[in-house]
Symmetry: D2
Subunit: 295 residues, 4 copies
């Protein structure tokens, strides 16, 4: 069962991106030091191509004599000094994040995430699972999670109301992550925009190879020697969102498409789980269609 960390492990996590300039780290770290904050983990990245600076800092919550709201409020001044484009957030690991899963019939990513949640591996609770088929309802409910069945009409042009219902259900949980766990449906542009930066998909190929449908069939036809999976943020352009994580697994001439499918599941599960964990731990900053991952 997912539960907030013990107080000694509770962190305030600051993520920030801004135009690169002299003295950013000095300002941020001086601000934290003056509050007595103990920085447990820190990542920095200066991108010479975009001229952008990125940082993530995890501060031991118990070392700061402030609540997260007050900490956030005081940090606002520092952020403002770094310029109007500065994009930052401050989260508190003492508050568990919330996940909603969208699924269809393929069970492996769902099973994997339910198992990880049950094992306390995810810093989040799975609030609900929504399926356009009901096949996976029972295992979801056995884990004590609510399952919603939103059937889809055959005709793709008539799916508007179903997506509307999904939006309503998802939003009712105010999720930090909307995970398409082999959902197999293309989200309409309005949902992509509405859940921007929160909707994660797992695509069963090493993108940008084999965009779209039946990537394992495409990979088999081309005769590749490795197959892969890609976890990316959902954007209106299909399979083109910022990539959080990818990995591959070796195949050979003896493997048929069904072997690709079977072996690919293992890599899909791992890649989605890693990408999701990094997202939930605020390790991912997006800029210019690409991600910085402080893993």
């Amino acid at each position: 069962m997912s539960a907030p960390p013990p107080d000694s492990d509770r962190r305030f996590v600051l993520t920030l991106g801004c135009p690169d300039q002299i003295g950013i780290v000095a300002r941020i770290s001086t601000f934290i030091a003056e509050l007595g904050g103990s920085i447990v983990e820190a990542g920095y990245h200066s991108d010479p191509v975009t001229g952008w600076f990125f940082t993530r800092q995890a501060v031991r919550a118990s070392s700061i004599p402030l609540g997260v709201d007050e900490f956030r409020s005081r940090f606002r001044d520092v952020a403002m000094q770094l310029g109007p484009e500065t994009d930052w957030a401050l989260s508190d690991t003492g508050t568990l994040k919330r996940i909603v899963l969208l699924v269809s019939k393929e069970p492996h990513c769902l099973h994997d995430l339910l198992g990880r949640a049950a094992g306390g591996e995810l810093p989040a609770t799975i609030e609900a699972v929504i399926g356009n088929h009901a096949d996976l309802a029972s295992v979801v409910e056995a884990h004590g999670v609510k399952f919603h069945h939103v059937p889809f009409p055959r005709d793709p042009d008539e799916r508007g109301p179903a997506f509307g219902r999904i939006r309503e259900l998802v939003d009712s949980h105010e999720p930090d992550a909307v995970v398409l766990a082999r959902f197999m449906q293309v989200l309409p542009p309005d949902l992509c925009a509405h859940w921007k930066g929160r909707a994660l998909n797992i695509h069963h190929s090493f993108l940008p190879s084999f965009v779209g449908a039946k990537p394992y069939h495409q990979a088999f036809a081309r005769g590749v020697k490795l197959i892969g999976a890609t976890c990316h943020y959902v954007t209106p352009e299909l399979d083109a969102g910022p990539i959080l994580e990818q990995d591959v697994i070796r195949v050979d001439h003896a493997d048929e498409v069904r072997d690709f499918v079977r072996q690919g599941r293992d890599i899909e599960k791992l890649v989605l789980a890693r990408g999701l964990r990094w997202h939930l731990e605020d390790r991912v900053l997006v800029h210019g269609g690409k991600t910085v991952v402080f893993s």
Copy 2:
């Protein structure tokens, strides 16, 4: 230095592809057993999609009371019984194979292959290296290998004579493998046809991603989390030939294009060396645009 194996390691290597049918293995293995042949290594593959059968068998040469020519001549009957489409070859590892390398300015694949040849790792001799630039001549000659400089005119339309000269030089060595070791030039269709099944290229991406020029720049722009390399047979369609081997290496947001280039070299060297060794050891059978690799 490459040298033929000691007599105890000498093998006759049979490779064969034919329409799948009952009793192929029985026929081949009975033929070999009746000659007293000791099969040291055997690979089989039935492809259910194409209905094609593939095998590679390595027989201890000293266990057969025949020379390779006589062995080959006797096997012809067995092959004919398997049908007119049967495609087979029989080689003798007692005769070292011959390699010609085509290079440009990038040294890493060349260095790597020269080092492997010097270390006795390749079952072949490097007969000559041909470069459209002369930069790499001295290291080639330090290894006691002949270097030919065939300069290319700027205008791609005027390169016919240079390619003609290369063809002449290459063919004078009757090579078993023509290796484009970061040659960076597209072979004209007639050379692709002429060296079909013998010309190997290393492409610095995980094909079919990032076909063509500057794949590391393309990979950087897309924000992938792994970069790769692909060893493939050269065909007229660019970067579309049958794939022998691929591998990848992890990159992250801190890596710039030049880091991709540097790290990519390691995977290019490995992938090319593996693919080339398999080719030289007659481990690769091509059918329908794909490879069977009995590695």
Copy 3:
């Protein structure tokens, strides 16, 4: 849900080891060809160190006009001609194999195998799960599998009756595989002997490094840069049985022991699942403390 394969995928799987000699393949393949048998997959290995020969052959069941018992009975003569030491078996994939799992409190390998069984990935049914703690009972039962709780006394010297009870429960299912899925208890020698070749363990280190207790703590203390997992057959000597599969995952200085534990789970699950599948598909032959795996 695991179910026998459709008839077109049903195979008779022959595995055989014997002293290497001329003509083994010829005899076996001629025998199969004379019955009209279509060999779908074949692996061969001659070990020059031990002088032993190994093969695995999968024959399309529908191509043979015999049941498995009659096929087995006829093959006996072939096997006898290969010498008295010949060790062979013939199985029928039309009969699902049976697994019993032994668990303790760690859920991840159990969840993973239950998920794979539910997804039809394993050619076997999970007959029962036995735990020395009851923590995992509910998820087992939610999958429709029987859970037996056999509590262990604190004093290791008084565990004889508990192991006796486990032996009884396990044997009542006549399992093809007894899987120690993070069971965390050392089997007594009589059980190791009784289940020889059928009991698989997952050890959370890259053996032979870090034998015994708390391998992740040992790995952390040594400062290794990769951690691993090993699936091996259980033998009386601790963590010294024949290895079926191993894999590793990268760690770095920022990872604490608890991160090793978390990341290690992913590799434990994969390595156990791969080893178990190979075992169930009769891909593993053991000889001289080592395995031949026709994967």
Copy 4:
């Protein structure tokens, strides 16, 4: 050819370890910011087990109006404020580092490093190569590098003078790295002490498995499914020094010891090259027998 970087890529690299305390980053980054320094790359690590803090910061040299000596001299005050145990260094990538290689007969790591140096991949020059055999002299000299032959007497007890000569030769180059590139000789304790933190070895196993002689034979006997290589700092206890890097490669039952040796070379070369590059770029901090690698 290795050459110092262009001025725009020149960096001052600060590495520092000290007892963890509030405000370290603030002090260091404020100091750098006040000089106008632009931090190009920064790594931080707090170790909760040892209570030690580590950082590496790369500052664009052209952004600081001081030479490296003056910068170092001013930083001394900051370091002193962090306590008397503080261990720090400041290097200038404008000055190429120096490497001396120790070799025996195995050529692959030597070839690989010479090739990398020739390709400009290493931020260092290879000053000299010393061999206890003369086999590799010619290739070294073809790269324009001095080769010293220091023959070893058969009797290990009489090698003192040879090691004395090696020490003299090595020290004459004031190297930043003394690389045992498959040197195959155990350094005497006084040399281990003298070159502490500068002598790197490549061991051909995944340590701590298979310490000492003939690790591939040991690995073959145990039947492992992956073989590895380890780059570590040399210490008086054999193969027990702090590990910089490790990696593995898959083997199977068909691989004999000589295949392990051949395939192992590829991973030895890569692991040594990575470890050496990190060492030369001041990415490695050693504490308590383990490394922090800001890679």
